[in-house]
């Protein structure tokens, strides 16, 4: 995606939201929440966790908006804040040892949900719930780093440079992680889509 075509809140809106103007806060919140939720969902691979962290992230971003440097790309700043909050959540979950058992249970449930998905175009031929279950399960099977790279580079369509800046790794590392993630996803989708066919291609 061309960064210039990416939807960015106007500077006036950002300033209004930063200064606490109710209308600006409302408009900024409604405009940004879907994107922030998607990022959280992608990084965490868990809808309930993503909803919770997205709400925290929005409040955190609103609180920090006054300190945002307009010389820095807004999306890079926002994505980094969201990423760090998601990583914090994952660390906390790991520390509580909930992640392992919770993910296993969730994965079993998702596997049951994915029992009879069809193939090809997801929106047209699969029920929304089934598509989301496969999406969630596929993302959950990636490592956290692979997931971060895949979400930012392939799903959010950021440039390699932007991803490397956001994750504080080299562009070469981004390419390597992306290759691993794509390769792993091929196998994951082959297992989850019946017939091992995606869009007419045999996996």
């Amino acid at each position: 995606m061309d960064p210039s075509t990416r939807k960015t809140p106007g500077l006036a809106l950002l300033r209004g939201a930063a200064s606490g103007e109710p209308e600006a806060v409302d408009a900024w919140f409604r405009g940004e929440h879907p994107d922030v939720y998607r990022l959280c969902f992608g990084f965490l691979a868990d809808a309930a966790e993503a909803e919770d962290v997205a709400q925290d992230a929005m409040l955190h971003l609103l609180d920090k908006l006054e300190g945002w440097d307009p010389d820095r790309p807004y999306h890079a700043w926002r994505d980094t804040v969201v990423l760090n909050l998601c990583r914090d959540r994952m660390r906390r979950n790991a520390a509580r040892s909930r992640a392992h058992s919770g993910a296993a249970e969730a994965r079993e449930q998702r596997d049951e949900d994915c029992e009879h998905p069809s193939r090809s175009e997801p929106v047209e031929e699969l029920e929304r719930r089934e598509v989301q279950a496969i999406l969630t399960a596929s993302l959950a099977d990636l490592t956290p780093r692979e997931r971060e790279v895949f979400v930012l580079r392939d799903l959010e369509e950021r440039s390699t440079r932007e991803v490397s800046d956001c994750l504080a790794v080299t562009e070469s590392t981004v390419r390597t992680l992306l290759t691993l993630a794509r390769r792993r996803l091929r196998g994951i989708l082959a297992d989850r889509l019946p017939g091992g066919t995606i869009g007419g291609e045999h996996v």
């Binding site: 606490g20 879907p34 939720y37 709400q55 006054e66 929106v123 992306l178 290759t179 794509r182 996996v203």
Partner: protein, 162 residues
């Protein structure tokens, strides 16, 4: 015939291997960067990623819960917090020095001098109408406030806790 051609033609004995050339080639070798452009990938990988993108676009979003009111923002001095802290500290320092100088000059908070009266008892020297009691007196210094008193007038300076 170059060494490479001789080697490819199998005209080397074991102890004649062009080891230096091989080492140089080894050191100079660079692994190709993995392609991150999806168009460079194979058809199945492209299809997998496109499937994920389709599902991503169709992701069910939760309802937006806009906070009832905007968070209360801390008043600022129009600059970073350290500027406000520095100004506050400088003001506090100046006032302390001023108070200390006044204290040295007037002896406020010093034990009052006792003088002998005509009847043989002691009395407070300041009771003899010296007029020096109009000087302000530092009552308390806290982490966030300083209080002076002069007669019936009290001055309290409170700094921002942030």
């Amino acid at each position: 015939m170059s060494e490479r051609e001789r080697f490819q033609a199998g005209r080397f004995e074991d102890d004649e291997l062009p080891i230096d050339e091989l080492r140089a080639a080894w050191r100079g070798a660079r692994a190709p960067e993995p392609a991150d452009d999806l168009a460079d990938g194979d058809a199945v990988t492209r299809a997998s990623v496109e499937w994920m993108r389709g599902a991503w676009r169709d992701l069910e979003l939760p309802p937006v819960r806009v906070p009832d009111r905007a968070p209360v923002l801390q008043p600022t001095f129009g600059g970073p917090a350290w500027v406000a802290a520095a100004i506050t500290a400088a003001a506090a320092g100046f006032l302390f020095v001023a108070w200390f100088a006044a204290r040295e000059r007037t002896g406020i908070a010093q034990p009052r001098e006792r003088v002998a009266t005509e009847d043989g008892t002691e009395a407070d020297a300041s009771e003899e109408g010296s007029g020096e009691r109009a000087q302000p007196e530092l009552v308390s210094v806290g982490a966030n406030n300083i209080e002076w008193r002069s007669g019936s007038v009290t001055l309290v300076l409170v700094t921002s806790s942030s």
